[in-house]
Structures are given as structure tokens and as C-alpha cells.
Symmetry: C2
Subunit: 543 residues, 2 copies
């Protein structure tokens, strides 16, 4: 027997309808590529999203046709989020940090028909447009008078000209909530990129979950700064959750340096910010010399990479900002776990709480997880056993776009490629990427533990630990180090720095290698495959 409740599909258009109707005058503030601050409301976002939908109709785009963006976090990008998906097309957010060849490859693979890009990325578009065989329409996300005269891009139109002529009324269509809404390619280090194809249903469920008090805790009282890019897993779903809650949105545009981000936080009374560690490092680096303070910032969620403990401590102790560790991936929409405390932890000391905060956190309802050993058997949740992390849930991929890579699931579970422990309270901690695990004398060493100790040294800007072959132990860890500008530290000082830290003697790296830079991928993560190539002729010092 079925229940007798109303059968409304979960559609992204309902988010912007809701924000317009119930939070019409809540603000959306954007730092533009043009440099100035743009300020309008959800009422305007809604009206212009409908203009986008009409503009797509005018281009004769069909249901599920792909519309690509190559853009910063800003109001026009937001309008495309709602206008493209709301009208039944698929939003393909492209990461501008990918190699141009890869951008052309994924545009062709996705069969994008429209490309909307910020002028920052005109050089990329100029480099790739001839190779993009499916894109028929090139839209520069700028005012009409900023459109470059001799771009070389066929029929290049400014976004304002494109949507400006359209009416702002539009009846959002109703359709199967499992329809594709948007897509994001993972910047795989091997093989071709593969795309997660999100649905309206998965997006709405994720938007509810992401706003929960134990996740990002978003309300109509918040002013939210998503530093995490809209071109990377939908800025962790913040544009959707913000509309769902009516929160004020503050977009940083291309200005991600410490000074710009700090000034935006203060000027727009930001209460909540989300981003990756590298951006927060720049922010704290800007604030420290002048002893600057936050007036309104209360919480920040840090994800994308494991957050160095020193950063969590700095935010908490020096600035009174609660740092929430998050973990997820492109294939997970992206949120999987968040590190918030439980009722039983409330009376713990600050030190005890910090130990928990260093973990990636607890699963959000909707996400199920487990760790398995080499034999495929589930491992205990004791905080010690570590194994491959598997997840499942309604906002986790079943397969990739066009079936690339075959069936990724193992008995219905998605293998994350991360190696983790889970403690008895369900707090998960990533110890490594599975391909980065170092196996020494039959025991695994966490490269993340080794790196966290190194970056706690005041002279270290960045650290990356890899395993190198060893005749007796199979592998031994070494650490590639980038020193901070003007700072000096020796190999011996760094090795000595490991003494007394929470690492066993046999886990201490065998060597320190100073490098000028550590290769980073398109989403800011360390590319260890590339680092291993660079150091392929490296030899361990004789024992």
C-alpha cells in the first residue's frame, strides 16, 4: 500500500523559487572579475535564472543538453546553476586549472553545446575553442561593453546581451527527479577524467543534509562565503543549500588572496566560510603580521585535503573560529563526513576535543561507510585498524558518465581510494590515499601523519611524503620539503623534529629532500604520482 502524500519531484528549480518567495530580499554579493562588488538579491537571481532558461530555449537546447561553465564564484555562475538545471539542461562546471588539452577533451566528452566563461579564462578558450567540436555557442560572462573586440572566438556574445533580451518569466518544467542536473569531472591522475553525473534528487537530498546543524549548519541568519570553487563539485553544494535556507551569499570571484578574502569577510559580515587549507593559509598569513581579528566569522569548514592540525589550532585558539573538518569527493556530491562533536563530548577538555577535531568526522545521515582490509573483509571501528574506505548513499555515484571505467562499485559500495580508520564513535580519519600508502616491513605508514608533523615546523611551507624502494623493508618514507621564503632549516633539524612526536621510531622518515615546489593537481591536491616521477632517480642514504 502506498502512502497518500503529495507526489512532488525534488527539483532544483524549487530551490530558487523558494528563495525568491521566502527570502526575496536576502543579498547575494559578488566580487566581479571586473574588480568591483556586485550586489543584488535572491529575487534578482530568480528573475535572471529564468532569463537564462529562456535564452537556452532560444538556442534550441534540448532536455539534458550540456551547458559548460569556466568561471569563478559569482552571481552569473549562480544564475546558470539554477537556469541551466532548472530548465532541464545539465550544468557542466569545468575546472579552469586543468590543462587546456584536458579541458577540450572533457568538453568533447561531455558534448557541451554552450560554453559560458569568465574573461579571466579567455586565453584558455582561445587556446581550446577550435578543438571543442560540439560547442556551438560561446558566452563571455561579462557586461556587453567589456566584450573583447578581436577574441578570435566565433560569434562570441556577452552574457548580458545573451540573457538581457529575454523575458524574466518562465514556467519551470516538471520532470523525473532522477534526471541529470549537473556534472563534474574528476581530475584523475591516471587515465582520462571521468564525470560524476548528479541528479535533481541527489542534489536536493544533499542540499538538505549539507545544511544540517551537524554538517554546515546553514540558516537564514548566516552570511556565507564559499571560497571553495563553484567549478569544483558545486562549491560543496553551498549554492543549493544557501537557497534552501535563504542565507546571504558572498562570492569572492577571482580574488582568493588573504587580503581580499579577509576584507570581504569583514565588509559583508560573513559568519561562515568554506574552503581548502591552502586558501586559509593565505588568509591567516595576511592576518597575523597586523594582528587582525574577525568580527563576525564564527565557523569555517575545511576540506579538500586533510587540514594541518596547526591550522585548526590557530583558527580556534587565536581567532575564536570553530574549524570543522570535512571529507568528501567529487563522486559524493561531495559531502561524506563532517567533524562535529557529540553530546557525550560536551564536557571534555579543550585538548580532548581537539583530538577529535583532527579527524575527518562522522558520516552524515544519507552516507553509509565501512573500511575493509586486503581480504575484502570489513574491519573493526576501533580507531586503529585501517583499510580501504567504502561508501554508499543516494548522493554517491553508481557509475561514471558514459560508463567510463566500467562498474566502479564493489557489492554496491563505492571504493573511495582513501585509506582510513574509524573509531568506536564513528569518527573517520583518513590515513592516506590507498595509492600513497607506504608499506615498510609489512606495516603501513600514514604519509599524512608524516606530513602533518613536518608542516608544524615553522620553517616548512609544504611537505609531501612518499615511499621509496628499500632492499630490506620493501619501502621507506622520505619527505619532500618546500621551505618558507627566507626561512632555513636543515635535514638534520627536521629529522630531529620528529623525536617525541606521535609517530613510532620506525615510522620516522629516512630522509628529507628539499625541493623548490611540490606539484599540485587542478584541485590543489599534491600530485604524488608526479612527485614520484620527479624523484625517480633518488637514492636512499646508506644506513
Amino acid at each position: 500500500m502506498l502512502g497518500l502524500m503529495q507526489s512532488q519531484p525534488l527539483l532544483i528549480s524549487s530551490l530558487i523559487d523558494f528563495a525568491e518567495r521566502h527570502h526575496g530580499d536576502a543579498e547575494v554579493v559578488s566580487r566581479r572579475v571586473e574588480g568591483d562588488l556586485h550586489r543584488y538579491t535572491y529575487r534578482d537571481v530568480a528573475a535572471r535564472s529564468r532569463q537564462v532558461a529562456n535564452a537556452l530555449d532560444a538556442l534550441k537546447l534540448g532536455f539534458s543538453d550540456r551547458v559548460a561553465t569556466l568561471a569563478w564564484n559569482g552571481y552569473r555562475h549562480l544564475e546558470l546553476y539554477f537556469g541551466v538545471s532548472g530548465s532541464g539542461r545539465v550544468l557542466h562546471t569545468v575546472n579552469p586549472r586543468l590543462h587546456p588539452d584536458q579541458i577540450a577533451w572533457i568538453a568533447n566528452h561531455a558534448e557541451d553545446q554552450v560554453m559560458c566563461f569568465d574573461l579571466t579564462f579567455l586565453p584558455i578558450i582561445q587556446a581550446v575553442h577550435a578543438k571543442c567540436t560540439t560547442i556551438k555557442h560561446w558566452i563571455a560572462m561579462c557586461d556587453a561593453d567589456r566584450l573583447p573586440a578581436d577574441s578570435g572566438i566565433p560569434k562570441l556574445t556577452s552574457y548580458e546581451t545573451w540573457v538581457g533580451a529575454q523575458p524574466d518569466t518562465y514556467a519551470w518544467p516538471s520532470f523525473d527527479e532522477n534526471s541529470a542536473s549537473s556534472m563534474c569531472y574528476t581530475s584523475g591522475t591516471t587515465g582520462n577524467p571521468k564525470a560524476a553525473l548528479y541528479s535533481h534528487r541527489s542534489t536536493i537530498l544533499h542540499a538538505y543534509a549539507a545544511a544540517l546543524p551537524d554538517v554546515m549548519c546553514l540558516s537564514a541568519r548566516d552570511s556565507i562565503l564559499p571560497v571553495v570553487p563553484m567549478f569544483h563539485v558545486n562549491a560543496w553544494g553551498i549554492p543549493y543549500s544557501a537557497a534552501l535556507t535563504g542565507a546571504k551569499l558572498v562570492f569572492p570571484g577571482p580574488a582568493l588572496d588573504g587580503k581580499s578574502v579577509y576584507e570581504l569577510i569583514e565588509a559583508e559580515k560573513v559568519s561562515y566560510a568554506a574552503g581548502v587549507p591552502t586558501v586559509w593559509q593565505m588568509l591567516l598569513g595576511h592576518m597575523k603580521p597586523d594582528n587582525l581579528r574577525f568580527t563576525t566569522l564564527k565557523r569555517t569548514v575545511i576540506g579538500g585535503s586533510a587540514c594541518p592540525p596547526a591550522m585548526i589550532t590557530a583558527f580556534n585558539d587565536d581567532y575564536g573560529v570553530e574549524v570543522l573538518h570535512a571529507w568528501g569527493m567529487t563522486e559524493m556530491s561531495p559531502l561524506g563526513t563532517l567533524c562535529t562533536l557529540k553530546n557525550k563530548h560536551l564536557e571534555m577538555t579543550a585538548d580532548e576535543k581537539m583530538k577529535i577535531r583532527l579527524k575527518q568526522g562522522r558520516a552524515i545521515y544519507g552516507v553509509d561507510m565501512k573500511i575493509v582490509g586486503d581480504d575484502g573483509q570489513e574491519l573493526p571501528w576501533d580507531g586503529k585498524a585501517f583499510g580501504d574506505l567504502y561508501v554508499r548513499g543516494p548522493w554517491i555515484v553508481r557509475e561514471y558518465f558514459k560508463g567510463e571505467g566500467g562498474d566502479p562499485l564493489v557489492d554496491g559500495w563505492f571504493p573511495t581510494g582513501d585509506v582510513a580508520t574509524i573509531d568506536a564513535d564513528g569518527y573517520m580519519q583518513i590515513t592516506d590515499r590507498s595509492k600513497d600508502v607506504i608499506k615498510s616491513g609489512g606495516e603501513w605508514i600514514s604519509s599524512i601523519d608524516i606530513e602533518n608533523i613536518a608542516v608544524a615546523h615553522p620553517a616548512v611551507a609544504m611537505a609531501a611524503c612518499i615511499g621509496v624502494p628499500h632492499p630490506k623493508w620493501d619501502e621507506r618514507p622520505i619527505v619532500a620539503i618546500v621551505r618558507k621564503p627566507g626561512m632555513d632549516v636543515t635535514r638534520e633539524e627536521l629529522l630531529a623534529f620528529y623525536q617525541g612526536k606521535t609517530v613510532a621510531k620506525w615510522q620516522v622518515p629516512d630522509d628529507i629532500v628539499f625541493v623548490d615546489a611540490i606539484p599540485l593537481g587542478a584541485t590543489g591536491k599534491i600530485l604524488k604520482t608526479r612527485l614520484r616521477e620527479i624523484l625517480k632517480d633518488y637514492k636512499l642514504p646508506a644506513a
Copy 2:
């Protein structure tokens, strides 16, 4: 094109699975009918819910078969919530405050096969069991040694005997998320009761929404006291949202007096409580004489009836507890609106904020609402125009069980029977039940406004405003008043009390009628139909 995310149905069983796995040792504390406090964990809830499922299998109950409960808020009731719905049966929570004839009527209408009841309600069961033609199994929710010897109920079994013999392993079935999960009859004042039939999907979506920061704001750090009964619209969905967040649950059982509730709040460090105004009146009544204070209580949601402003003020100003006004109904699972502030309100004065808090609040994402005039046209959101309130959304009924009452929807919208205003910020305020509106000289008078002023008088315990026929003005308002014990106030004093209040001169009631009691319905709401019957011979004083 469909998205490529995992297609997991939204099922209630996944809530208790999640709570067991991720919050296994979070506590569930219950005041038992036996008088003592019972204390266990979500791990135990999950194991015993599976025992319930096995026990239902042993009774050969089929998919969608109905299992009734007549019970207080407590741990066994919680196990039935998950065991009954999780195994694919339908939980029918029966309101023990209904007339026994009505209880028999709805048990037959629902075709209940099992009835689980607290011993408090044994007399009701004894009165009705012979009339309940479909119930084959009677379960007393008590320890085996408390089972009454000569109850007269055929084959009466204790809950502990019933589930105790069953294994605590059970593979929850997977099925269509639109399947019926639970049902609740509305205690209609006219005609037979009609049942809302909830689905797994509607329950899970409501559980996500109910936990949002702008709704009940539930997290793993909360200790939640649902005073609102589990026999009435699933205690506002708190059992589900608590499992979704891993919050500690504290059940008051039958002890709803001020002293018991106060002591439970303090002993179990309750941070959040939900209930109807009458219970909070008793709580504040208990605390005031001894100048008692809350140690941990931070928030309370008040719904069910419009909350008297004096109570909101008392909680806020005297006890430092944030009062959130809520509105909903059985047909809405039940949450529709909650009154939380927006970012733009943060810098308002306390008085300005209080003006907002008096409203029933903003729509939760998932609920759409509108007000319409007599001509069926939508009215403006100006905070002044009032009309019939309509709602729609995925946790709102499409029709009633067995099609009772025909198609309730009007163009896809559910008419709530409430009359309301909505302001430009989307804050809705109930001015009346549509059938209680008083129309005087062509203008509507809000009976709720008139009542709120009366109950602000220190000698008034309860007030109910109704319209009585008037030769010139069609109708004029009068107020039935119950005085507080030992307090005195005259008709003239009360009429004078309206002077200077926020009510127009022509809206001031024509008369005060002192009564010993005001008739209340099964959910504690004033039965104005009954009051009108009682006062049918009343004559307005000569002008």
C-alpha cells in the same frame, strides 16, 4: 537523461540503522508508566526494533498491515516506530484522549490487526476491545510480571514476552519509498475522523527538514525532550529526526505535570524541548513560586495552538530560553512553518524581534504556502490581508485514507482551514480557524487576537472567543473566560483591560462570560463548536 547516482529508497529503517552504527551509545531515557526511569542506547533501540519486526513476522502480518499503538512517549513506543514501519507494516498511533467509541471506530476503519497499549489505557482497551473487529493481537506495553491477571482482554500478552523471545537480527526489507509507513487520524470536530497516511519518503524528507537550523535545529549535541505526544503526528517527527542526528532522547511518559517535566529537564540536561502551550503553562506554573531556573535548556518549540505572547516573553526574558513558534497540522507530518529570524533581523532591538516571534513563522523548504480570498484569488504578502491558508509539498496529504472526504485538494493545494496573514518577509500569522472567524459589519475579527489579550490578564487561566449573532453587525465577539484558581476579576475589569491594547475599538468583545471550563479536544485544542453549543441560549447584552 537520468543522473548516475545510487538509487537507494528513502526508508525509515535506515534511520535506526544509522543511529545504531554512528551513535550506538547515545542515550534514550524514558519515564515509564511504572514510574521509574529507563535508560538505554540507540544500539538497544535498534536491536529491540528488530525483535519487534521478528515478532510481527511471527504473527504473520503482511506488508502494509496496520499495527496500532495507544501509548505515551517512551522507549517501547520508539521501538514500535522503527520495528513496525521498518519491516513494511504501517504504524497507527491512536490518540488516547479520543472518546472510546471513536477509538473503536478508527481501529476498525484502519483495520488494525495488533494493538499495543500502555497499562494506563487498560480501561479504554477493556471498554472497546469487543467492538474492535479486526484486532487479533493485544499487547500490553509492560514487563511480563506487570501483566494484569484478569484483564478480560483475550490472549493479552506483555510486550516483553512478545518481543523477548525473538532474535535481534533482522534484514530490513527494501521497497518503494512511497509505501505507507504510518498513519494518524485527525480529531475532526465534524464528521468521522480522517487519516493522513504518511510514506517512508515523506517521513525521511520531513526528518531532514525538521532538523535544520531554521526548524528544530537538532544535532548530536542535543538532549531532546519531546513533550508533544508520539500519538499525535509522530511527536512532530522528533523520533525520526533524533535518530537522523544521533541526539539523546528523553521521554516524559505519562508525567506531564510541571514538577515532573522540570525535574526531567534538569536531570537529563535537556537542551531542547517541544510541546503545546498547556504543558509549558504547567511547567512555568511550577517554576515560578520557587524561582527555579533552567541549567541546560536553550530552546523550546511551541506549537499545536498559537502561543500566548506572555508565555514567549516569560521563557525569553525570565528564563533565557529561546521560544520558537511553530505551525503545522496532522495533514502536514506536521511541520509547515517555524519562526526563526533572518540575517536582516540580527541587529533589531529585542522588542522588534519579539514582534516577529509572535508570528507562526516562515515556510520550511519543502512547504509552499499561499493565502487566498473569498474569490479564490491569491492575496498579497503584506502582513495585513488575511485569507484562507493553502499549502503543498512532499510531506502534505494528497488525500485521506480510503478516500474519506473525497479530494481535499484545490488545484493541487491543501486548504488548511486556517485563516492567516503573510508579511513581505514570508512570516505567516494565523488569525483564526476559518470556521471560527467572526465577521462583524463586513469586517473580520481574529478570535486569537481577542483571546491573547484576555490570557495576558493575571487572573485569566483560559479564554475562548466566539461570535454570536447580532441584528445589526451580523456577528459580535464575546469571550468565555476560566478564572485562575483563587483569582477574581469582573466582567467590567476585563472589558477595560482591552483599552490601549493592539485591537481596534470595534473589535473589543461585547461581553465576557465566566465559565468553569472550556471544552478541549483530544489534542488539547479548544472545541469552539462545543462551546457554541453550550452557549447557544446566550443573549448579547442590550447595547
